[in-house]
Symmetry: C2
Subunit: 357 residues, 2 copies
Amino acid sequence: MKTLKIKASSHEYNVTIGHGIRFRVQELLERSYSSIMIITDEVIESLYLDDIKNTFSDHKMYTYILPSGEAEKSIDNYYKIQTKAIEYGLDRDSLFIALGGGVVGDITGFVAATYMRGIDFIQIPTTVLAHDSSVGGKVAINHELSKNMIGAFYPPKAVIYDIDTLKTLSDAELRSGYAEIIKEAFISDHHFLNELLEINLNDLTSEQLSEHLYKGIKIKADIVEADEKESNVRKYLNLGHTLSHAIESELGYGTITHGEAVAIGIIFALNLSEAKYDTILPVKAYIDWLKINNYPLNISTIKTENILKRMKSDKKSVNQVVQMVLLKDIAQPSIENLSDEFIMEYLTSFLKELKEL
Amino acid sequence: MKTLKIKASSHEYNVTIGHGIRFRVQELLERSYSSIMIITDEVIESLYLDDIKNTFSDHKMYTYILPSGEAEKSIDNYYKIQTKAIEYGLDRDSLFIALGGGVVGDITGFVAATYMRGIDFIQIPTTVLAHDSSVGGKVAINHELSKNMIGAFYPPKAVIYDIDTLKTLSDAELRSGYAEIIKEAFISDHHFLNELLEINLNDLTSEQLSEHLYKGIKIKADIVEADEKESNVRKYLNLGHTLSHAIESELGYGTITHGEAVAIGIIFALNLSEAKYDTILPVKAYIDWLKINNYPLNISTIKTENILKRMKSDKKSVNQVVQMVLLKDIAQPSIENLSDEFIMEYLTSFLKELKEL
């Protein structure tokens, strides 16, 4: 069992990574609560809900089961959870538990942030991808016009990461999570990046997975502690995300996974970086790694103009100018405001090349 | 022009009170913005919207007009404003302005708190009541099951209070605001309370109003600075509110004004205080003042059991135990957990007595 301490502006909290620790949730909390509401989805419910519930003695326990999928991070579900919480009598001394992936974590966190102006919540991530969303305090729901548009900065009281729950992940979900891990390596650790580029996800051991998660979270934690509200360095974590958000909303959420879209976004960011800085980056090695691991790269149905329009309305944009994270070199990220012309010049050919990969 | 500086945990902001300062909004801001969206209601729009818009040069300006009334502080309107903000292209460098009373201030503040995880907003209150809601950072919308149930602590960047806009208030709105001012006096200033109990609201001068607002805001500001997140002393500001919230939701929001309900809630709190502490409070003087100023005291249609049930699900309740602010003496508030039996004993007779006032 490994523990990382994260310093948020409001409080400190522990990220604990270990085998079978979902059976020890109550002892990993610092206090007891008047009541607890676990939010999870229909898949995770059947696998792990009882494990978590059974670790609690003497607590009033309630559950709310969401359908699976990114489309469920909606204002409707947000309001329905609030309704149930009121009906169950949750008060300021109650706790929300997010048991699941990023969708469950994000919507639960935003409910917790705004229920009675904010009560405690913890994250129990069950995907590799959620190592990213469960740490750092970003919580949100989607607006139909834009992803994660409605949200807050509201760190959890604890993150409890049971590696054993990751054994049930599909290949696509594993790929999705590893795209964020490799992104973390790209922005801050050349050695870690090289290590990852040698990995075939089919042959991953439990020890490697645990080690990669720890390293990824450590990178994220250091950045988030330096800039919680994303005024500067936290933006580096958005490498690959300006295009990926546009792809996801253009294809419809859930068509490909978030991480798979980020993986494509990173290729584009590497292309633009080489063009902008006249630098050489391991683009081929990265694309080879994506292909070996069966990342979907064919998104040929989408239109270049639509993608640009969506990139311009990204949360990082100011005055409709696209802002992207580029790399001067590995571990040397930089934030750039890019003209429409510059983006269009490379976006058209990039989308064409993707078809040929 | 008078200015009070409020220290919030995230930043400091000024509350400026003066005549005609709605024509000086831009110069009272510390910076410029990429765009501005003013949220107001249909009544205030016709009176003051152009005054505010015209103070800004060189800014992209957008407006959103809500219908009037507490019922508009809804999740539907919250989402509609977010939609418009996205469509207008508001970004992290944009500003929301709440121009109006508490409803406009609360919903605008909650939109600002959660749009792209939080952007700047300022309050331009146009009611006496909003002196309370515009200071201290509480923002919220109503859930159909409970008032202000969904919200956040998110202080504005400035509060700009133009006394001249209060001339157009109805008698009921003036009463509503003065209930909160007299509440502030009850919990912290015997001298100020006596001064208020001598006032007939029909004869109020502009100088008196300005002075009372300043004193009320000062009391609130001191409390909020000591306890922003309402862990302890900020709860004192809820004097009269446990019952008033129950009355408002039982009668249906808007049947009587918020402050008029608080005025009734304060009578009940005074009754319970006398019973609990064996103290003597100026109940009669206070009721006489309410009658002279035409506060509605007849709420005979509501049922005692419903009221208790609603008090138990108040945000201050923990484990369904009603928590109320009582007064050991004027300026000596105390927070008490009260048994259902104790409340029922006095609530039944209180509601009966109200009919006879």
